[in-house]
């Protein structure tokens, strides 16, 4: 019973936080358009669209740009709360609809990359940490440093160069073969082929980060007294690693994973651009080229919400791992 209440309270706190972040970002978006050089209607219409008089008039009416700022802000926040993110100036469609179409692709990409990085990264980190000082560990350290220094977009391009241009194993871009007649399983496998390189290039940096962290964490945990206790109890190596070290070592990794979620989602914008992956990042890039402000601001808001959901997931994981967090006594 107490557990349920604690989780309820934690969720409540998260919802408060989510609403606060949404309101702050909505306010920031509002301020950004007003702070931009030029007339807000002009900014919203975008430079590439030119000054279509009718569009400008529409925008002024829609956003009430002749009203005082306070009224404009209140109206703006009111819309956001009702999930009205405005209309794309280029495609003339509600921003929310555009986002809804693109959301699954982005979620698929970021969640895959995140899970891959976390699982593979911590596994490698554990192995390196247990073999600290060996040749394999040194090789691992060098590799992770190199991965960590790699620009995401360039890593993506290099994967394309190797696996698509030279080896011709994987499709260079896209989101599934168009017009392919495939069963559900075939479709999934087909999508997987398209997902492989984007997920790998997005996840690589984080894989390196988590692996290095896990390695350091394992080395640190190995020196703790309770590991000595476990040895003094007569446990064998596997029992000690699995039963005592792993969970303790995971604590800092999960903390950092939560903090890195924002960067991971940001990286998706670049990766989607490289691989023509039809997600929110690609939508941002297209909107950027046309200076389609309502879309850019809407995507920024939604991506922030996604980051908070990632945070929530890692926070819950943290609570599961560490009983001290559950008791809230930290």
């Amino acid at each position: 019973m107490r557990r349920a209440a604690e989780i309820g309270i934690a969720l409540g706190a998260w919802i408060v936080r989510l609403v606060a972040v949404v309101l702050v970002i909505a306010t920031f978006n509002f301020a950004l358009v007003r702070a931009a050089p030029g007339d807000p209607a002009q900014v919203m219409a975008g430079q590439s669209g030119g000054a279509d008089a009718k569009l400008l008039a529409d925008l002024r009416a829609e956003y009430g740009l002749d009203q005082p700022y306070a009224v404009q802000l209140a109206r703006h926040l009111g819309r956001v709360v009702r999930l009205d993110l405005g209309t794309s100036t280029q495609q003339r469609r509600p921003v929310l609809d555009l986002i809804r179409e693109r959301l699954p692709a982005t979620l698929l990409l970021t969640v895959t990359a995140f899970a891959l990085a976390l699982l593979l990264g911590s596994t490698l980190g554990v192995m390196a940490g247990l073999a600290a000082g060996s040749a394999a560990d040194t090789a691992f350290t060098v590799l992770s440093l190199v991965l960590y220094a790699m620009p995401v977009f360039w890593l993506g391009l290099m994967l394309v160069l190797v696996f698509s241009v030279w080896l011709d194993w994987l499709p260079p871009f896209g989101y599934g073969t168009i017009n392919a007649r495939l069963g559900p399983l075939g479709q999934a496998l087909d999508l997987l082929k398209y997902l492989a390189m984007p997920a790998a290039s997005l996840g690589a940096i984080y894989l390196a980060i988590y692996a290095r962290l896990m390695r350091a964490s394992i080395i640190e945990v190995a020196q703790q007294d309770f590991v000595k206790t476990a040895r003094a109890k007569g446990l064998n190596g596997a029992q000690i690693v699995v039963g005592h070290m792993l969970r303790n070592a995971l604590v800092p990794v999960v903390t950092v994973a939560g903090m890195q979620a924002g960067a991971l989602v940001g990286g998706a914008v670049v990766v989607e651009t490289v691989f023509a992956w039809p997600g929110l990042g690609r939508l941002t890039f297209d909107a950027l080229l046309q200076r389609d402000y309502p879309v850019m601001l809407g995507v920024f808001l939604i991506l922030s919400v996604i980051v908070i959901l990632f945070n929530l997931a890692t926070d819950l994981a943290y609570r599961l791992i560490d009983p001290r967090m559950r008791a809230g006594s930290a």
Partner: protein
């Protein structure tokens, strides 16, 4: 399961023969211990005594093959029940660890896995050595062990996490783990050093009871001759990795042959109760009235904050040349009291008067001026000096802050450094070049160069080895007489309090339980809590034995 099943062997439970342990190359010495031999019989407690760096802990770890990587046994043998443990490996070694020999460590919190329930950690030991048991039977075994180590409500405790237990309870859990498979040998590495004095007494009694019940051999590592006097059958004294003396506890304590042993025993602070100095006349230098402080620890968003009362109406008066000891266990608020007097922690209410001026009403520059009369020496000699500041600067900073020209201040610093037993050249060196005891001398010089009226020593000798402790205490006593200092000596160690103080205040949970002249409080305590504290002093019976006399010696101790 019963002792009858074990064959009665004549071999000692533990035989350490010519043990030499090599340290990794490049360290400050080649061997942690050299040529150490001793034995433990059934139903016997052997204490391995030594100061830090004596290698005592290494021996304990070597017995269970738990030496840190890079450290190895370079010679000699360790036999348990006649079996050479150095030859054990793989499954045999694991069956031996936790089976034939159990071990407990100094820090009970870090010795338990923080993320695992206590019951599961005990059950794991049983399962490893005796195989799986039906759920109910395992639960009964675990709860039985928890009850045996004197824990109340074993059922509830088994489901708790280590962070939910007190220090003493955690150490009892560690003992339960070590006892789970009825070992023939228990190795205890400073098991009570991290605990309060009353808890220490309970844990030592528990170990002794279990030893008697089961006829175990116990190897107890300690730095405290008081503990030796209370529980040891035999003693092995180590110095710098070599055995300097071994024998029955009685013989070693009463007739130590080696000068080092004698010096260690002499250094044990004891209540040399002097007649109380006549209470000085006149107004007190420092008076504290009705000081109050409650710490509020905020917990989660919707949980009520936890309140800890650190000071619940504390009052005291201190006269020139007088030493007042403030004693109490952890959480009694003794350190907070010192910090509040220094205005490092802001009290919630009350008054602190130094020479008639209420420090609490002062702010900014006025407070800074007033602080000159009050100085403090902290517990940790490693944390209390800025690693980037030369020792001379650290001492001279004080007078300079009050306007003394640099040259004069440096000269004063050098004089004082010499007075506390260092050389004037020490002024040009950095803190990391000094040992713990030397650093504490520097801190004393730093405090006294300002010629304060009141010196607060907050556990100032607790982090030091006994022999160093005795020297620093002697220095403080000298300086106090010389400078007519009033001193507040905050300590958890009643022996030290009795040795240095004219008057004592006993604190418990932020309240003064008892107050009076040291001799009165120690010889005729009025309160049950004070009595409990006094009874728990390790070695009290021995060291205060009326017939206990020794020739005074002047040994050379580094």
């Amino acid at each position: 399961m019963t002792d009858a099943k074990a064959p009665v062997s004549t071999a000692p439970v533990l035989a350490v023969d010519g043990l030499t342990i090599a340290l990794p190359r490049g360290g400050d010495r080649a061997y942690a211990v050299e040529d150490v031999s001793f034995a433990i019989q059934r139903n016997e407690v052997v204490c391995l005594v030594g100061e830090s760096g004596s290698g005592k802990s290494m021996i304990a770890h070597a017995i269970l093959s738990l030496l840190p990587s890079g450290v190895r046994v370079a010679g000699g043998a360790v036999a348990v029940n006649g079996r050479d443990t150095a030859r054990l490996s793989g499954p045999d070694l694991r069956a031996f660890r936790g089976g034939e020999a159990g071990m407990i460590f100094q820090e009970p919190l870090s010795s338990l896995n923080p993320l695992k329930r206590v019951g599961a950690q005990i059950a794991e030991t049983i399962r490893t050595h005796q195989g799986g048991l039906p759920r109910d039977e395992m639960r009964a075994r675990v709860e039985g062990l928890l009850a045996q180590v004197g824990l109340p409500t074993p059922g509830l405790l088994a489901r708790s996490y280590p962070f939910e237990l007190s220090g003493g309870q955690r150490q009892r859990v560690m003992i339960a783990i070590a006892m789970a498979n009825r070992p023939a040998l228990l190795v205890a590495d400073e098991p009570t050093t991290a605990l309060d004095v009353t808890t220490q007494a309970q844990i030592l009694r528990l170990i002794d009871d279990l030893r008697r019940e089961r006829g175990m051999g116990v190897l107890l590592i300690t730095h405290d001759f008081g503990v030796v006097a209370d529980v040891a059958d035999r003693v092995v004294v180590l110095r710098g990795g070599r055995v300097v003396e071994t024998g029955s506890a009685e013989a070693v304590l009463r007739r130590p042959r080696d000068p080092y042993t004698q010096a260690l025993i002499d250094a044990v602070p004891r209540a040399r109760l002097r007649p109380p100095a006549p209470r000085p006349e006149g107004a007190p230098v420092l008076s504290v009235e009705d000081l109050r402080k409650t710490f509020t620890v905020r917990r989660g968003l919707f949980q009520p904050p936890r309140r800890v009362v650190a000071a619940d109406g504390l009052s005291l008066a201190l006269h020139q040349g007088e030493t007042l000891a403030v004693v109490g266990e952890s959480g009694s608020g003794k350190s907070t009291l010192g910090r509040m007097i220094m205005r490092l922690t802001e009290p919630d209410g009350g008054a602190i008067r130094l020479g008639g001026e209420d420090l609490r009403s002062l702010q900014g520059e006025a407070l800074r001026r007033a602080r000159r009369g009050l100085q403090i020496v902290f517990q940790d000699p490693f944390a209390s000096l800025d690693p980037r500041q030369k020792v001379g600067d650290a001492v001279a900073r004080g007078p300079m802050a009050y306007g003394t020209p640099r040259r004069e201040a440096m000269a004063a610093a050098r004089t004082l450094l010499e007075r506390v037993g260092l050389t004037a050249a020490a002024a040009e060196r950095y803190p990391h070049e000094f040992s713990g005891g030397q650093r504490q001398r520097i801190c004393i010089a730093r405090a006294l160069v300002l010629q304060p009226q009141v010196l607060i020593a907050d556990e100032a000798v607790s982090a030091l080895d006994v022999s160093v402790q005795a020297q620093v205490l002697a220095l403080l006593a000298e300086l106090r007489r010389e400078m007519r200092l009033a001193m507040i000596f905050i300590t958890h160690d009643l022996r030290i309090a009795a040795e240095i103080a004219d008057r004592v205040i006993v604190l418990q949970k932020g309240r003064i339980v008892e107050e009076g002249a040291t001799r009165d409080v120690f010889s005729a305590p009025r309160e049950a809590y004070t009595r409990a504290l006094l009874d728990a002093i390790p070695g009290r019976r021995f060291f205060e034995h009326p017939g206990f006399t020794r020739e005074p010696v002047a040994p050379e101790v580094a």
